[in-house]
């Protein structure tokens, strides 16, 4: 009897682990920033390099922080979705133009449309490191108190907007 049970148990254990493995996304690294204050920055704006934006300017607002670059292919697929989101005026969208050439970035926004209330420049990637950015595009949701509440790695899809972003933003807008 034992002769049949042991291989069966081993098989089931192995099958369960493999099945769990199928649904894991090794590319998604959990962010240590959830429910922590947004890392501080003070960076020049893309359209007005003399002016700077810092995270304290956004206290009291629900905002999205979207990391993008003109060299990033998946940002291009995400772009129309962000344009649609911007039209809904659900939240302020701040862009982090990551390791990009400002001229390329401006051209990109001119041709594809500009969903960002403001974009700031991070040419040497330091703000990126402070925010734990490892794959562009990435999108953070920050609440009115300046706490990071959600992070999405990779291009945002229309489904993500409907199922995750809009409900979360609505919830955060009600919070004081």
């Amino acid at each position: 009897m034992l002769k049949y049970i042991i291989p069966l148990v081993l098989f089931i254990v192995l099958a369960v682990f493999l099945a769990l493995g199928l649904s894991l996304k090794p590319g998604d690294i959990p962010s240590p920033f959830i429910n922590k204050p947004a890392p501080s920055f003070s960076a020049p704006k893309l359209n007005a390099p003399d002016e700077k934006l810092s995270q304290t300017d956004l206290i009291g607002k629900v905002w999205l922080f979207n990391v993008w670059a003109s060299w990033c292919v998946s940002c291009r697929s995400e772009h129309p979705i962000l344009n649609q989101l911007a039209q809904k005026n659900a939240a302020v969208i701040v862009g982090l133009n990551y390791k990009d050439d400002p001229n390329d970035a401006k051209k990109w926004l001119q041709t594809l449309g500009n969903p960002y209330t403001v974009s700031i420049m991070d040419q040497d990637g330091r703000i990126g490191i402070d925010w734990g950015v490892y794959g562009v595009p990435e999108t953070f949701v920050i609440d009115k108190k300046g706490l990071i509440r959600y992070k999405h790695t990779g291009p945002v899809t229309a489904e993500d907007i409907q199922k995750t972003f809009l409900p979360l933003i609505a919830k955060l807008q009600v919070e004081s």
């Binding site: 090794p26 590319g27 690294i29 959990p30 962010s31 240590p32 890392p39 390791k99 040497d124 990637g125 330091r126 990126g128 490191i129 402070d130 925010w131 734990g132 490892y134 794959g135």
Partner: protein
């Protein structure tokens, strides 16, 4: 053909490391730099350290490590800086705690399971090798063998 093969293998062996030229004020700092960059995982190409990877992020993280060493930060402070931003995932040697416990304990559990299995198997073998054959049966076997010999 042989020469071509050797050249090809040499080319393959070249791209093992991403090399930056860095100047350190003292050899200890260089050593810290080298251990740190080989203990930190590149998050883009997840099975490489930042010392091995040619990804842009890895280059930025190497620069970050270098600058922090030059500022006189300790190894512990630099590792903390990285885990605050990228989580334990960035460490090739994760700390022992609730979430990472299974990583550390699992090998020991598998070793124990293996040892127990071997022990049981050997004991089972020993038992079955001298399955009680009654003296009468042994006698019969012997006589049969002897008869066989005569023919």
């Amino acid at each position: 053909m042989k020469r071509l093969c050797i050249i090809f293998l040499l080319i393959l062996s070249c791209n093992g490391f991403a090399v930056d030229y860095r100047q350190f004020s003292n050899p200890e700092q260089q050593e810290t730099y080298e251990t740190l960059t080989s203990e930190l995982r590149c998050l883009v190409c997840q099975n490489q350290t930042i010392a091995d990877s040619n990804a842009e992020l890895a280059a930025d993280l190497r620069r970050q490590v270098y600058e922090m060493i030059e500022q006189g930060k300790t190894k512990q402070e630099i590792l903390q800086f990285m885990t605050e931003r990228y989580g334990d995932f960035v460490l090739y040697k994760p700390p022992f705690k609730g979430k990472t416990g299974i990583l550390w304990i699992a090998p020991v559990i598998f070793l124990l399971m293996g040892l127990i299995a071997v022990f049981l198997f050997v004991r089972h073998k020993k038992k079955s090798s001298n399955i009680g054959i009654s003296p009468e049966k042994q006698e019969k076997i012997r006589s049969l063998l002897e008869k066989g010999d005569r023919s």
